[in-house]
Symmetry: C2
């Protein structure tokens, strides 16, 4: 018995200390400037021990001769592992300041139309998917975009019936702000010619009947009868989402609109040790906030892998579906100017309710009217809820130039998605006309105003790959190099600012800057090895960056090709 007690070993540390040597290290320092290093040392908790200039040196061992009868002192322990990276470029793990983790995951297990170039191609893909997935009660999908198809109008239920008519089909538009139903789905939902759209929503009509597309809150009419994914589906989706994120170098993400079902999937993954990507969670509305986090934001859980720190509110829709709330009519749809999805008083009540319990408030605002409204509301809130609140405006796409200076007040953060600009610029020009574009996707103006600027992807609306995001931020050109010279090139930002937006600022926007984001000693060792020196590469070259390895908490969690 006694021997057994003496033999009880101390528990092994969960992490081994290590050094990643011989790297072209690039990170953002506390002042927002680029720092360089040649080796990264990791402590046994998976945190950054030190950034080393030049190469790693073994610890010295020149002990004095011991006294008679005494052994030589032990050789100092070096790190448990050493990796020679062969001069490859090492950057901090990239952080997506605005994404939808389960949205990505569910899109990876459902029909994806985002690569379709025409209505006919989409119809063929839908038909093929139905044939491959027999036995499903519904066909669910995402990613369609009538603009990409060059259709000039929404598709119809009849066009969807032509692909699949026997079971209900429900397909969300790429921006999540509209859905396309076939006749079986419309019937299943009990929607008819006399059904009224709920406030904040619109039913597209044709010949006095629902035409097939349901905009914003009218989507609920169909969605309420769509079978919810089972927990197993969600677990599968989350695992696929994590793999997709790690493969493009995303080690942390703000989940913008977490439901209780999403949260439970996050916890299930973490409980079995499978949550690798760090999630800064923002509850989908008040009910989820209260149910998930309770009386205050959660602590950081699972070694800084999960925290609910705030609430996400949707103040308006998107430009594509003309749901964005504008101060004046859409240029291409006179009489329409979108609409607020939350009435003024209710918005303030919700913000107040969240802020009083120290939750951070993140509000989706795309149109100039929505941005003006949220800036008004923040101004009013700031009297009561002072201190470091980091009010977030999500997207902040179209800003009335007179509102731009107001962004810098009250510590408001602009959470923007560079790739949206390159996807949207033609459409935005059509929707708004040239005159209203001065404050559109105005990244450089935000920086000039000293507004903290966090970058994200809005995945699954766009690809989660942050490298095209960095390229777009620097060039305002899309993957085809259009438009030449960049759209509104005065809003381009530097490589430094682009990397900052996807690392340190994205962490700051989530109250995580002490945890991760810039490889400062004491932060979590989340980093990437990539295949090119993105500091000296052109935006076009940056766009094609391949992630070779992704490390989180000092552990390798992704290797390209494995």
């Amino acid at each position: 018995m006694l021997a057994a007690i003496a033999a009880l070993a101390l528990p092994m540390p969960a992490h081994a200390s290590g050094v990643i040597d011989n790297v072209n290290g690039i990170a953002i320092g506390p002042d927002g400037k680029i720092v360089h290093f040649g080796a990264l040392m990791i402590d046994d908790e998976g945190k950054v021990e030190k950034l080393i200039q030049g190469r790693y040196q073994e610890p010295e061992y020149k002990p004095k001769k011991p006294k008679r009868g005494q052994p030589w002192p032990e050789r100092p322990k070096g790190p448990s592992f050493k990796l020679d990276a062969g001069g490859k470029t090492l950057i901090p793990g990239l952080i997506d300041a605005h994404g939808h983790v389960m949205g990505l995951g569910l899109s990876l297990i459902t029909l994806d139309l985002s690569d379709t170039k025409s209505l006919a191609e989409a119809q063929a893909k839908i038909r093929a998917y139905a044939q491959e997935n027999t036995g499903r009660k519904w066909i669910i999908g995402t990613g369609w975009n009538q603009e990409t198809w060059g259709l000039g109008r929404f598709p119809t239920a009849a066009e969807l019936d032509a692909a699949v008519g026997d079971i209900p089909v429900w397909l969300e538009r790429v921006d999540g702000h509209a859905g396309w139903a076939n006749s079986a789905a419309i019937r299943a939902a009990g929607v008819s010619a006399t059904t009224k759209a709920p406030a904040g929503g619109r039913i597209e009509m044709a010949a006095g009947k629902p035409a097939g597309v349901f905009v914003d809150k009218a989507m609920d009419l169909i969605q309420k009868v769509v079978p919810a994914p089972a927990p197993k589906d969600r677990d599968n989706a989350l695992e696929k989402a994590q793999r997709a994120l790690l493969a493009v170098g995303i080690t942390g993400i703000a989940d913008m609109g977490t439901s209780i079902e999403d949260w439970q999937a996050f916890r299930r993954s973490a409980d079995r040790g499978a949550l690798r990507v760090r999630i800064m969670s923002y509850a989908y509305g008040l009910d989820n906030m209260v149910l998930i986090a309770g009386p205050e934001p959660t602590p950081w859980l699972y070694d800084d892998h999960l925290r609910m720190g705030g609430i996400k509110l949707l103040l308006d829709g998107a430009l594509g579906s003309r749901g964005a709330w504008l101060k004046a009519d859409y240029s291409d749809a006179p009489g329409q100017r979108g609409l607020p999805m939350i009435p003024s008083t209710q918005l303030r009540n919700i913000m107040s309710r969240a802020a009083m319990d120290n939750f951070q408030v993140a509000v989706h605002a795309i149109g100039d009217a929505a941005n003006g409204e949220i800036l008004d509301a923040i101004q009013e809130m700031s009297d009561t809820y002072s201190g470091d609140r980091r009010w977030r405006v999500e997207h902040a796409q179209i800003i009335d130039p007179t509102d731009l200076p107001r962004f810098a007040r009250y510590g408001t953060i602009a959470s923007m998605q560079p790739v949206h600009e390159t996807s949207d610029w033609r459409m935005a020009t059509a929707r708004l006309g040239e005159a209203r574009l001065k404050g559109a996707y105005a990244w450089k103006a935000m920086l000039d105003n000293h507004v903290p600027l966090a970058f994200g992807s809005d995945v699954p609306v766009e690809s989660p790959n942050p490298f095209p995001g960095i390229a777009a931020a620097m060039s305002r050109q899309d993957a085809r190099g259009e438009p030449a010279g960049g759209w509104m090139p005065e809003q381009k930002v530097s490589f430094e600012a682009a990397l900052d937006g996807f690392t340190r600022q994205a962490a700051f926007a989530g109250f995580a800057e002490k945890k991760f984001g810039s490889l400062v000693p004491g932060q979590r060792a989340d980093f990437l090895l990539i295949d090119r020196n993105i500091e000296t590469a052109s935006p076009t070259d940056i766009r094609g960056t391949q992630v070779l390895e992704t490390w989180i908490n000092g552990k390798r969690v992704y290797v390209k090709g494995q």
Copy 2:
């Protein structure tokens, strides 16, 4: 830098090894027989290292002389701490196989009428509470029992109005199967003379109007307008519940009917390291099961402190409110025989849905019809869902003697509450008449049939104190020693069986027997030091046992008087 690396210490173990020496140790061995020991050794994970016969001995240190130039070998490490318990009695931490953790907690922060001896006393207490708690929107309470009051009928809304008339009052009966509302509460709920009781419920009527008491599912009519407790209230309630449980030696409990809100409170407590009592959670219905646990039971979380392993279903009500479902009419209410709260097909569908994902099924069955029905259902399920299922019948109060032998089949567990018998025997006799009592609270018959018999309290219906439970199990007498010789004394069980029911069997009933319950080496070191030798004490003496210290995971979590 190098020095810094070398100095990085191994993480300290979360627990220190130790020995509790000089105890009168009593536990239940793997064969169900009592084992004795004089010292308990705890390893550095908080698990039982060994039970020692006699006293603890320091490790020997008689090393051989080392070779020249070599130091003497280190003295073997003993445990980090030693406690001389001065011969006090040490028993395993007691486990409540059926309780309601948040129900207890919320009862501790709401008006408690369980000590009132008359309607007038209750009215006075309600009035005083309202005056002490001004500003509340509702007054919520529990614990009343018209039988204890000697009222011979339910109380009325008018009688409650006489205590508090200006704000709504809603008071649950001691068994949770009926609620008493004042007129303001009935108005707030929009209940009127024409309101129909939902299936499985009954509105007590007087002069054609709701009389004030709502039975079983009719309680929902009022409850749906009662403001839900805020998360802060729930956190406060859970902490109070834990303290109450630890003070009476409960170190583990099966939470019978966990809602998502309950679960979130458990996790909040555990996330901040404050969950001491081990909770075996059974979801309140399918929706909670799927939402909380997802595709399968959760793993054991937080060092075996929390797991959702099953589902709790309510098949009938209680005897007191005549909601228990009987095969024949109530003796004291001809024409009434209670009713099933879940129709036959639905019961089987729910059980099947849970079992197919390997959730354990625990079904509340009090009346003889309900017990017959659940035994039928288990029999049918067992064809499809074989293996170690441990179907649980909760309460199993009134069994048709012809059904008793069926209990032993399919590994069905009887989860029973000894104190219920001592609280109920007069009422049960009135409700059922002598002839139907042969299978009532039939503990010994269960043991004779080789049915695993787990004991609990049904807290907050009864006090969580397990020592009166052990005493009741052995004596079938209440705190006043009534009835003399015990009620149906042939159903008394031994001290050994009573302790087994509150330890090893309660753990087994929750699939936790490898984790805790009987101080077998490798199990969690959850134990009590108590003020008397309960093995040799009389039931009356056992009833008064005081817990001096409660230890969980090898750590002291409660000391009497501190």
